[in-house]
């Protein structure tokens, strides 16, 4: 709790209003998050009328997820990009969440794409209680534009093709830390859209298109 003492000296002018309807807007944001995690790779949009007013540095969906999911029970770790006075003041005021400097103690973490090459330190849960792992909220400029990968697993009927703008290093980090049932669950966020990547999803790395055979025709196996 000592971390929140710093906010007491912050000027009240930093504070902004949160959800217009704290009960139903939080519920709508949660349902979008639930849909995102139950259907990995399919982007979910939050309507403008249900997202909170703009908070400097946070995408609308990141802000909405924070307000919907964080409270006094969820220590939050902020990447340096998000560790601003405004974000600290507003999240500690509206959510009451402790902000921690140690990744190991965080139940939620807010990251930008500069952090994704190193996911060390986040709690992966343990074999008895894999649910105690940290949930990552990763804010990206866009949910498209990267290499297309096929995702497979629970929540996906056959395959979902997702082209998140992520470096190879992120997938290696995820691979090395996913030891099901232990692992990391991620929400990718851009603007008012969010996309879920639970630990149960397998990401298939297709052979690079630089090889001789053209890799464009998709094997459209409809078999489920």
């Amino acid at each position: 709790m000592s971390t929140s003492l710093a906010t007491q000296s912050l000027p009240a002018s930093l504070l902004q209003p949160a959800f217009t309807d704290p009960v139903l807007d939080a519920q709508r944001s949660f349902r979008a998050a639930l849909r995102a995690l139950a259907g990995p790779g399919v982007a979910q949009s939050l309507l403008a009328m249900q997202t909170p007013p703009h908070l400097e540095g946070l995408a609308a969906a990141s802000h909405a997820l924070c307000l919907a999911l964080l409270d006094i029970d969820t220590p939050l770790w902020l990447a340096p990009k998000f560790d601003t006075q405004t974000i600290r003041a507003n999240l500690t005021f509206h959510c009451g969440c402790p902000i921690v400097s140690d990744r190991q103690n965080a139940r939620f973490a807010l990251l930008d794409d500069s952090q994704l090459h190193d996911l060390s330190g986040f709690d992966l849960g343990n074999d008895r209680y894999p649910d105690q792992s940290c949930t990552l909220l990763v804010q990206l400029p866009s949910l498209q534009g990267g290499t297309q990968l096929a995702w497979r697993g629970p929540g996906i009927e056959s395959k979902n093709h997702v082209s998140l703008p992520l470096q190879e290093a992120f997938w290696q980090e995820r691979e090395s830390r996913n030891d099901f049932p232990r692992g990391i669950d991620v929400f990718f966020v851009a603007g008012s859209e969010l996309l879920g990547l639970p630990r149960s999803t397998q990401v298939l790395f297709k052979p690079q298109p630089s090889s001789l055979q053209p890799s464009s025709p998709q094997p459209s196996t409809g078999a489920v």
Binding site: A38, D131, P154, E157
Partner: protein, 295 residues
């Protein structure tokens, strides 16, 4: 009393403002919501949660109600069934509870519902992708009847050590010649966690496999919740020489004539005259009204 009568229209009563939306306070909802997200990420794993006291006793669906309260929104259409029926005490009172505390629309029609809270049945009408099933679970731990210690069962789940489940089924075969477990039939979710599908008849187990709807399970007394995401492989435990089988009936439903649905047996008189009717009242009523329309 049953499917022969058309479903009554539920008058939309205004929300009782004395309660928070859907009864539970916001911090409790957030705690359950975070648990639900983890449950979806780890299909079949039982997430402990801080179960709250609800205004009805354990065993009447407090676990399911807490999950419903945590996910319910103003736009949702709620259906509640008890052993397949929309018009039994438990179903009626839970539906009225949420109509009063959340002001949501309620329905008896399966395709119209966005959230279906159920006690021990999965509707016969196929579910669709925008629906969420909420199951009321008495005992969430499938290993409990074999191993009473929570510490031990948690270790068994952690180590993927499920050999004893097959011993239990084998004992059935040794005693009765077939697997006699007829409800709460254990399943494996996505080839990892063994899960109790709640006391649904094993007739309903195949409906869990690759269902387009999200399945959420809540146990109020035991304070556990778990989930099966859509399109997840759910296999019932069995043996090569004793494959999993569902119940079959020689009878048809006395009301709608269905031969495909799960039938309840009724005893009509002191001589033991039997009759069989669909346990899913909405399915039965729809078939009756379709039959009338066709005439």
């Amino acid at each position: 009393m049953n499917a022969a009568t058309p479903p009554r229209l539920q008058p939309q009563a205004p929300r009782d403002e004395a309660y928070n939306f859907a009864y539970l306070d916001e911090q409790t909802k957030r705690m359950i919501r975070r648990g639900l997200l983890k449950a979806v990420a780890i299909p079949g794993y039982q997430v402990p949660f801080g179960g709250r006291e609800m205004p009805l006793p354990y065993g009447w669906g407090t676990g399911g109600m807490q999950l419903t309260a945590a996910i319910l929104g103003a736009e949702d259409v709620l259906k509640v069934i008890d052993q397949g029926a929309d018009d039994t005490t438990n179903a009626v009172s839970i539906r009225r509870f949420f109509a009063r505390t959340a002001g949501v629309a309620t329905t008896e029609r399966t395709p119209e519902a966005t959230i279906i809270q159920t006690r021990h049945r999965i509707p016969e009408t196929p579910l669709h992708a925008d629906q969420i099933m909420v199951y009321q679970v008495p005992i969430p731990e499938p290993l409990r009847f074999i191993e009473p210690s929570e510490t031990e069962t948690r270790t068994m789940h952690a180590l993927n050590d499920y050999g004893v489940m097959h011993v239990k089924l084998y004992e059935d075969i040794a005693t009765f010649g077939h697997i006699a477990t007829a409800y709460a039939y254990p399943v494996t979710v996505d080839e990892r966690y063994v899960m109790d599908p709640s006391p649904i008849p094993k007739f309903d187990n195949p409906k869990l496999d690759m269902s387009p709807a999200l399945m959420l399970f809540g146990a109020g007394r035991e304070k556990r919740l778990y989930a099966v995401p859509p399109f997840t492989r759910v296999t019932s435990l069995d043996f090569e020489d004793h494959p999993f089988e569902v119940q079959k009936w020689e009878h048809n439903c006395a009301i709608c004539g269905s031969h495909e649905s799960f039938l309840d047996e009724l005893i009509l008189d002191d001589q033991g005259t039997q009759s069989f009717v669909c346990s899913d009242t909405d399915y039965c009523a729809q078939r009756v009204s379709q039959g009338r329309a066709a005439q």
